[in-house]
């Protein structure tokens, strides 16, 4: 018997051995949780519910019953209405046309949905993520000849997805064999065949510009690698004090209004990643609009092109159905892995993972599962860990190197970091940017608290800084943190016994710490100049502040009164420096340092003369 050549698309996700969709009926509707009777359906299978055809997913089976979580509101659905099993798990479409777009929690394109259903989202809409009518210019990989052995991750060719991003068309992870044919250069739509591959069993597979992947299954790679390079975000308190690596995992916890979203948006804007995936998970609609309206206008500081060309958004706003919120994080991370497979450095921002965890809690509560802490199910910690585990720097199946950095906002109730989501997250991540209400209330932004935040990547980052920027980076960083620690100690003393109890040297320490806080740590996202700060400028500012502090301290030791130093106009100028000079004007900051050097030298000489003459008078 000869195996027929399959010319129907063999889609690893949707090619289901069971031919017909199965139909069953609805038995119970409890908010987003619907019980259906449908023998033979699989766990994880996609289902369409009721006459409206709402989308959902089987989350557990019990005899002939299946429990379905629906991604859409079940208002108006009745027991007895049909339920149809689709045969495949929740999956996403991966191919050119993702960048620049905004998708809902199950990857439906929201801009297209707006065209079809107006300002409010209608239910039961089945709109594919990728535009089938769009034609892409495909450039085949010239190194591939028919007969070549190809496997998962082999680059079949490229498509210029946006001006900045070349989309590499890869053999999907589960396929491998011999290349039968590869299409010549030309214009193709997504459904067109751009190649054929014969697998070990002799089946022929049609290859297209896109494929599907089930979101709950991590995409395979060859090997995990350690992170080597810092993710530069242009934010001083991050890059200089609590650095993140490309491929790292991080969290930004903080009470409401402390600045989590701003931190994430700043990373989305200014980080030196190739691709940015921003998942608005249970947060405000207007925050996504902000990105949608501003990113097409902003220039990427590295490529010079518009930021939107490397960005894609996943949106499940707080008023959208809760279950799709749970899905949105998986949808986002799968797309991130896909671009990593192409060899890119991807950053995924999830705002907020607490809302994701609450979606888990909501579903588990409706299922009557035993809660363990604050209503959360026992599997909260393992689910969180599994999501973060999908980040990382890897050697891809195509033997390139790529990374996914995952940074999640955490919204602890009442700002209490001991609550379950924050504390479990803290155990998983390596970089912790803890936002403080006190700092935010005092409008010290970003309100990243230098005492409670940490980074496990300082030594790795130091290698990069020492090589690229300055050999003194780690030393300066430590010096600044020590000064800030002294400041906290002295503040306690002042609060007990008043400022008069401090020595001149101690007062100068307070002044030095204030300089670090205002001149280095504080960085307004709204300041046109200071919103992004290059590593060189970061170092120059830090170096300047510490230099002033050290030289001042030396003068005080000689007996110069601290008041004289506190009045130096140079201190105000140093505080303003960050907004006066942009990242190309680092020489100006260095010039200011030279100025400071002269000023201090002058005071020293004057003082030495004065004390010499007074000594002479004795």
């Amino acid at each position: 018997m000869t195996e027929p050549t399959r010319d129907t698309p063999r889609d690893p996700i949707r090619d289901n051995p069971r031919d017909n969709p199965r139909q069953g009926r609805i038995r119970d509707i409890n908010g987003p949780i619907v019980t259906i009777v449908l023998p033979g359906i699989r766990n994880g299978e996609q289902v369409r519910i009721g006459e409206l055809g709402l989308f959902g997913e089987v989350i557990s089976l019990r005899g002939e019953e299946a429990i379905v979580q629906t991604y859409e509101s079940t208002e108006g659905v009745r027991p007895g209405e049909p339920a149809v099993g689709l045969g495949w798990p929740l999956s996403v479409e991966l191919g050119p046309g993702l960048l620049g777009g905004i998708f809902d929690g199950v990857q439906r394109p929201l801009e297209k949905i707006a065209l079809q259903s107006g300002d409010y989202i209608r239910r039961g809409l089945d709109v594919p993520a990728l535009d089938r009518t769009k034609v892409w210019e495909f450039e085949p990989n010239r190194e591939l000849e028919p007969g070549a052995r190809i496997g998962p991750g082999t680059v079949l060719g490229t498509v210029q997805e946006t001006q900045t991003i070349v989309h590499r068309i890869l053999v999907p992870p589960s396929l491998g064999g011999e290349l039968d044919e590869l299409a010549p250069a030309g214009d193709y739509d997504l459904e067109a065949t751009i190649g054929r591959l014969r697998d070990a069993q002799g089946h022929t597979h049609r290859l297209k510009l896109f494929h599907r992947w089930p979101v709950r299954k991590p995409r395979p790679y060859l090997r995990r690698d350690d992170g080597v390079a810092p993710l530069i975000t242009g934010q001083r308190v991050i890059d200089t004090f609590f650095p993140q690596l490309k491929g790292g995992k991080g969290a930004v916890p903080g009470p409401f209004g402390a600045g989590k979203t701003v931190v994430q948006q700043q990373v989305a804007r200014w980080s030196n990643a190739d691709i940015v995936i921003y998942v608005g998970c249970g947060e405000r609609g207007n925050e996504l609009v902000d990105v949608l309206e501003t990113f097409p206008q902003l220039d990427d500081p590295y490529s010079g092109r518009k930021l939107m060309e490397r960005t894609l958004l996943v949106a499940n706003t707080s008023n959208m159905p809760v279950v799709a919120r749970e899905a949105s994080v998986y949808v986002g991370i799968t797309m991130a892995e896909y671009y990593r497979d192409m060899g890119y450095d991807v950053v995924m921002l999830a705002d907020s993972t607490s809302r994701w965890a609450e979606a888990l809690r909501e579903v588990s509560g409706r299922l009557g599962q035993m809660p363990v802490e604050e209503g959360y199910p026992a599997y909260l910690a393992s689910r969180l860990a599994a999501v973060y585990e999908r980040a990382g720097r890897v050697e891809t199946q195509g033997a390139g190197s790529g990374s996914v950095t995952l940074i999640g906002a955490v919204s602890p109730p009442g700002g209490d970091f001991s609550e379950p989501v924050t504390s479990h997250t803290k155990d998983i991540i390596e970089t912790f940017w803890a936002l403080s209400k006190e700092l935010a209330d005092a409008r010290h932004y970003p309100s990243i608290d230098w005492v409670t935040s940490f980074s496990g990547h300082v030594h790795t980052a130091a290698e990069w800084w020492h090589q690229e920027i300055n050999r003194d980076w780690e030393r300066r960083r430590t010096e600044a943190l020590a000064l800030l620690a002294r400041d906290a100690e002295l503040a306690r003393i002042v609060n007990l016994v008043g400022p008069e109890a401090l020595s001149s040297a101690q007062r100068w320490e307070l002044e030095g710490a204030a300089l670090i806080k205002e001149g280095v740590l504080q960085q307004s996202a709204l300041d046109e100049v200071d919103t992004f700060c290059s590593p060189r400028k970061q170092f120059a500012l830090l170096d300047l502040c510490l230099f002033i502090f050290r030289r001042g301290a030396a003068l005080i030791e000689l007996g110069v009164p601290v008041q004289e130093l506190q009045q130096l106009p140079l201190l105000a100028r140093t505080r303003r420096c960050k907004s006066m000079f942009n990242s190309d004007q680092v020489d100006q900051i260095e010039a200011l340092k030279a100025d400071a050097e002269r000023t201090f030298e002058k005071i020293r000489l004057e003082y030495a003369q004065a004390s010499a003459s007074s000594a002479g008078n004795v």
């Binding site: 038995r27 119970d28 509707i29 409890n30 908010g31 019980t35 509101s73 208002e75 108006g76 659905v77 009745r78 027991p79 007895g80 905004i102 929201l110 949905i113 107006g118 300002d119 409010y120 989202i121 209608r122 239910r123 009470p255 409401f256 209004g257 608005g280 249970g282 405000r284 609609g285 207007n286 996504l288 609009v289 902000d290 706003t317 707080s318 008023n319 959208m320 809760v322 809302r355 609450e358 809690r361 909501e362 209503g375 109730p413 009442g414 700002g415 209490d416 209330d441 409008r443 010290h444 002042v494 609060n495 016994v497 008043g498 400022p499 205002e518 307004s524 709204l526 201190l571 105000a572």
Partner: protein, 459 residues
């Protein structure tokens, strides 16, 4: 499915009624309940299955008996009738008249549950609203389409402040005032009357729709009231092109009603007995506010949230703060000093301020004035705190200046008359007057140009 009646009540507890064998009833549908005395109550299906239907009874299940209770399934969602006649009227949480006038007749009927706005259809709110209140306009500006709650406590003047804002709010260079949707949940008769009189005396009553559920009205009705009110607001904004200001008071009573029902449903509690879905539930309400592409009207929202025991970390203000675009926080301390409106600026915030102020909207120095005032006030509060420990006499000259600033700021910038409608220029000029008590070099948030133009100090 059509209208059907059943007498199969099996259980009644905590606002809930369980019906047996009512096949084919849709989740979310409206029902009418006839009790033993012939009285009518309204309800909504909140769980539907083959053998059992769970009904939320808005008027409560007090003194229902199981035998003689009839339930009529109306085969329609909970909805209200909408027409321009809404304006000037008073309704309850279900949209039934409360003013002895006939119900609204209209063939426009919409489900009160609403549906989610597609984020891709939103427009970012950026039009500055002048409220005439310095702490808001100057430091926590409100823009059209924003949701900005007032966090308050019992006995604090949040109602007076809300009323003052309704009276004074307008776009900077426009005279058109807002249409107002007023939603009262669980408030006292006196509070409701206060607002009514306010609207009447400022002559806006023709432009106001009120939805009222008083403290002694059935609590379960509070669950639909804000939804009904917002459905009316959406109609006014998007069908009639009006700019709508929605005042909702008090969200705390709303959340308490929700907790009551959740508890009797047996929902797993998250914090302080509130169900885990309180966040999403509140978000469904608050996120109905905003601006939409190519629609002329808008919905701006000002909910009042009273903080139980003045605790901002209590789940209701906490979850509200996580959803809204900032908050105006009232302080008991300032109130006790006789300062009105007692806005505590440190925890107050407006997240949408950034795009609504500055050169083209208010004045070029505005963003930096706000940042500078905040920085000075933060330092001033630290100093005040220090002075309370070691005594003001022990402070340095520098610190004493901060102390004087703190007092002047509270008295003159925060404090203003209830009828005082300050223009944004007046607010900014007052800010400069106060800041000019500091040496020029202290004002590091200001640009050189600002200082040259507005600084009034000696050096």
């Amino acid at each position: 499915m059509s209208i059907k009646e059943y007498r199969t009540a099996a259980e009644a507890r905590g606002g809930l009624l369980v019906m047996k064998h009512t096949p084919g009833v849709a989740f979310g549908d409206r029902v009418l309940i006839k009790d033993h005395g012939g009285g009518r109550r309204n309800g909504q299906v909140i769980r539907a299955s083959d053998d059992e239907t769970l009904i939320l009874v808005f008027e409560g299940v007090e003194d229902l008996d199981l035998e003689s209770t009839w339930v009529r399934f109306l085969d329609e969602p909970v909805e209200i009738a909408l027409s321009p006649e809404l304006l000037g009227r008073v309704f309850n949480g279900l949209g039934e008249p409360k003013d002895d006038r006939p119900p609204i007749l209209s063939n426009i009927r919409r489900p009160v549950g609403g549906s989610a706005i597609n984020p891709a259809a939103r427009t970012y709110p950026r039009e500055f609203i002048q409220t005439g209140i310095s702490t808001i306009d100057g430091l926590n500006s409100l823009v059209r389409g924003q949701k900005l709650p007032i966090f308050s406590g019992s006995g604090l003047p949040h109602n007076r402040l809300a009323a003052q804002i309704v009276r004074q709010a307008r776009l900077k260079d426009e005279d058109t005032s807002f249409s107002v949707v007023f939603a009262a949940m669980g408030v006292s008769y006196a509070d409701a009357k206060f607002f009514r009189d306010e609207f009447a005396s400022s002559g806006v009553l023709r432009n106001v729709v009120m939805f009222i559920n008083l403290a002694d009205d059935p609590p379960v009705e509070r669950l639909t009231l804000p939804r009904t009110a917002l459905t009316a607001a959406e109609y006014l904004a998007y069908d009639l092109d009006r700019h709508v200001l929605v005042v909702m008071t008090d969200m705390t009573y709303y959340a308490e009603a929700l907790r009551e029902v959740a508890t009797s449903k047996g929902d797993v509690p998250a914090r302080k007995g509130y169900p885990g879905y309180l966040y999403s539930d509140l978000a469904e309400i608050y996120e109905r506010c905003g601006r939409i592409h190519q629609r002329h009207g808008s919905i701006t929202m000002m909910p009042v949230v009273s903080m139980p025991s003045d605790d901002i970390t209590h789940p209701i203000p906490d979850l509200t703060g996580y959803i809204t675009e900032g908050q105006i926080v009232l302080s008991r301390e300032l109130h006790n000093q006789g300062i009105y409106p007692p806005v505590h600026i440190s925890p107050s915030l407006s997240r949408l301020m950034k795009d609504g102020i500055g050169k083209d909207d208010t004045r070029e120095d505005h963003p930096r004035v706000a940042a500078q005032l905040y920085a000075l006030y933060a330092r001033a509060l630290e100093t005040r705190n220090l002075a309370s420990i070691i005594g003001a006499d022990e402070l340095s000259e520098r610190d004493k200046r901060f102390l004087r600033f703190a007092d002047a700021f509270d008295q003159r910038f925060v404090g203003q008359g209830e009828a005082e409608d300050r223009s944004i220029e007046a607010t900014l000029n007052l800010a400069w007057e106060l800041m000019s008590s500091f040496p020029r070099d202290t004002l590091t948030r200001m640009s050189e140009t600002d200082l040259a133009k507005y600084y009034q100090g000696a050096d």
